[in-house]
């Protein structure tokens, strides 16, 4: 009876996820014959390309590096914000929470274009910096790794805040008060009480932003301006520009494997941390 509850979700997953994934898996073993031609067969040619060409290794490493960096910076920026929102007793708390996650209402495409306006070579940031006479050679952020990081951090910040506020459930003001009554100052209280008890939320935030970043396509593509290559944009390029579907499929599987590793590693960490802070 209870299993029946799974049916709708299972159905959607089957048609929208499992079947396309199986199709991608099958496609990866076909042979590309150039000019959009695909020979239905069973070959490891595409995987050979992916794993032997240093270019793809670099792309994969850039993707993981971008994921880790964006996840780390986003969580660092989101942490105080989330902590404030969880702790505040202000009557404005609801409004402040909505404000913090409001950017999610704007499409990431629109926000990416916004960042292009700010970071571009003739953009707002360089105009301000040169206008103030601070520099004659404004930092080149557009078409750069750094620009992609800045834009992604802003775009994923609301997700991190949301994940962390819901993950800070174990935080209880009386625990910090108890630590204070035992002689712990502000910094000690943070390090020995607040930080450990918020670690589960931090891990959730890290995983969420990492996964969102390595699958992000629009922002690296637009702000990277054809100079920052990540797996997602490479897959798009192979599939639509080169029409090399077997290679696109093989790259997709690599991305899935990166996902799998990330989820497993974070899952294990999460379980240990959860056990630690739950007191059991």
């Amino acid at each position: 009876m209870a299993w029946g509850l799974l049916l709708p979700g299972l159905g959607v997953l089957l048609f929208a996820y499992a079947m396309p994934m199986l199709w991608v898996l099958r496609m990866a073993f076909n042979r590309f014959t150039g000019g959009g031609g695909i020979e239905i067969t069973l070959t490891l040619d595409s995987f050979a390309d992916v794993f032997t060409d240093p270019y793809y290794l670099r792309v994969a490493l850039t993707t993981v590096k971008l994921g880790l960096l964006v996840a780390a910076i986003t969580v660092l920026v989101a942490y105080p914000l989330a902590l404030f929102l969880v702790r505040t007793t202000s009557k404005w708390r609801g409004l402040l929470t909505i404000l913090a996650i409001a950017p999610m209402l704007v499409s990431s495409v629109a926000r990416t274009y916004g960042w292009m306006v700010v970071l571009g070579n003739q953009g707002l940031l360089s105009a301000v910096l040169t206008g103030l006479g601070l520099t004659d050679t404004p930092p080149q952020l557009a078409n750069q790794f750094a620009g992609v990081v800045i834009a992604l951090v802003q775009i994923f910040l609301p997700y991190a805040v949301l994940a962390m506020t819901s993950g800070f459930g174990r935080l209880d003001a009386t625990l910090e008060q108890a630590a204070a009554s035992l002689g712990a100052g502000r910094i000690t209280r943070f390090l020995r009480v607040t930080l450990p008890l918020t670690l589960p939320g931090v891990l959730t935030g890290l995983l969420l932003v990492f996964v969102l970043t390595i699958s992000a396509y629009v922002t690296p593509r637009l702000i990277g301006g054809g100079r920052v290559f990540v797996l997602a944009s490479e897959i798009y390029d192979q599939a639509t520009n080169q029409l090399n579907w077997p290679l696109a499929a093989a790259l997709s599987l690599v991305l899935v494997i990166v996902f799998g590793i990330a989820v497993t590693v974070f899952g294990l960490l999460q379980r240990r941390v959860e056990r630690w802070v739950s007191g059991r």
């Binding site: 009554s181 009480v193 008890l197 007191g279």
Partner: protein
């Protein structure tokens, strides 16, 4: 090991109609246990939290041994606190929790270990030192919280409803345990409770609070036998109250006649108090009829209609209790009658 003095303590929250705490003065002697007793919202917890330094007072001072601590932050007050929810740190073991305060005082490892082991033995939890907090029962958590607060030798021990999260049987045994620990350590203590039994049985003195003020402060016996007003009389124990007029010959109560008591109160409207235990069922006296009887094994609590009033009468159970409709006579010693300010004024 200290004398705690609270003077003119006020807490006014912005936007609130009346202050949460409205001028509280308390002196707790060295080694004394004071209970702050009152209904919820009377300001007892706010008072305790101001003493702890967790809430900033609007006015007034808090001092220990003459040292003004009003502006000292919590972590520098050197007081120990036991929270209603125990507030044990879930990511630390029992020993880790107890050692926390000693860590803050940078005690050498060997000394720390010794003191943690000592105090855990005293609360009979030595065998559970390495347990996680989530693996303990409520009573065990309570004892860890107590050990954690006491191990640092605090100047004052503060307990915020320390037993209210536990079930009734456990509460009884922990009352004795907390009291013994406090007396053995000779520590000055303040505890907050809404439970009058707890306050009367554990404390050296009780401060009954109402509407942000101390209504009365005294030993449990003083509070019970000579309550200052109707609020205290009804909050502590049960009471027969008669509104009447104080005259030279006693309190004239409509329907009941004159209760011949002397009082130095001004003549005029008063309320007379007669505790249910002070009323006896006897062969002669005021005639009445039993309205209800509730038998609790060692005691029978009667409600008796007499002279237009309903009397509460507590008697020691002996033989079969009387039943509804039985005719009885009520008697009491005139010295048991207390004269309180009239109900409306209190």
């Amino acid at each position: 090991m200290a004398e705690l003095r609270v003077a003119g303590l006020v807490k006014r929250y912005p936007g609130a109609a009346s202050p949460a705490v409205d001028g509280v003065d308390l002196t707790v002697e060295q080694g004394e246990m004071l209970a702050l007793l009152g209904p919820s919202g009377c300001g007892k917890t706010t008072t305790l939290r101001m003493i702890a330094g967790l809430i900033e007072p609007t006015a007034g001072t808090i001092s220990v041994d003459g040292r003004d601590l009003t502006r000292t932050p919590v972590h520098k007050r050197g007081m120990g606190m036991v929270f209603q929810s125990f507030a044990l740190l879930p990511h630390l073991t029992v020993a880790g929790n107890v050692a926390f305060g000693l860590d803050m005082r940078r005690l050498p490892a060997a000394e720390k270990k010794k003191r943690v082991a000592e105090i855990l033995d005293r609360v009979r939890l030595g065998h559970l030192a390495e347990r996680r907090i989530g693996q303990l029962s409520g009573g065990q958590q309570q004892r860890v919280a107590l050990a954690r607060a006491l191990v640092v030798n605090p100047s004052v021990l503060l307990l915020d409803e320390p037993l209210s999260a536990l079930d009734a049987q456990l509460r009884e045994s922990l009352r004795t345990e907390i009291r013994e620990m406090q007396q053995n350590a000779g520590i000055t203590a303040v505890f907050v409770t809404h439970d009058q039994d707890e306050a009367l049985s554990m404390a050296d003195r009780v401060a009954v609070m109402d509407n942000g003020r101390v209504a009365q402060i005294g030993t449990p016996q003083e509070i019970y036998e000579n309550p200052a007003d109707v609020f205290v009389a009804t909050f502590i124990g049960r009471a027969n109250l008669f509104d009447g007029e104080l005259t030279a010959s006693g309190v004239v109560v409509p329907g009941l006649g004159t209760l011949p008591v002397t009082s130095d109160r001004a003549h005029g409207p008063v309320t007379a108090l007669l505790r249910p235990q002070a009323v006896r069922l006897s062969a002669d006296g005021l005639p009445g009829t039993v309205r209800s009887a509730s038998y609790t094994g060692d005691q029978v609590a009667y409600q008796v209609d007499a002279a237009g009033h309903t009397f509460l009468v507590d008697t020691v159970a002996a033989g079969a209790p009387l039943t509804r409709g039985d005719a009885v006579h009520l008697a009491w010693d005139d010295t048991a009658v207390r004269v309180l300010p009239p109900r409306d004024a209190s």
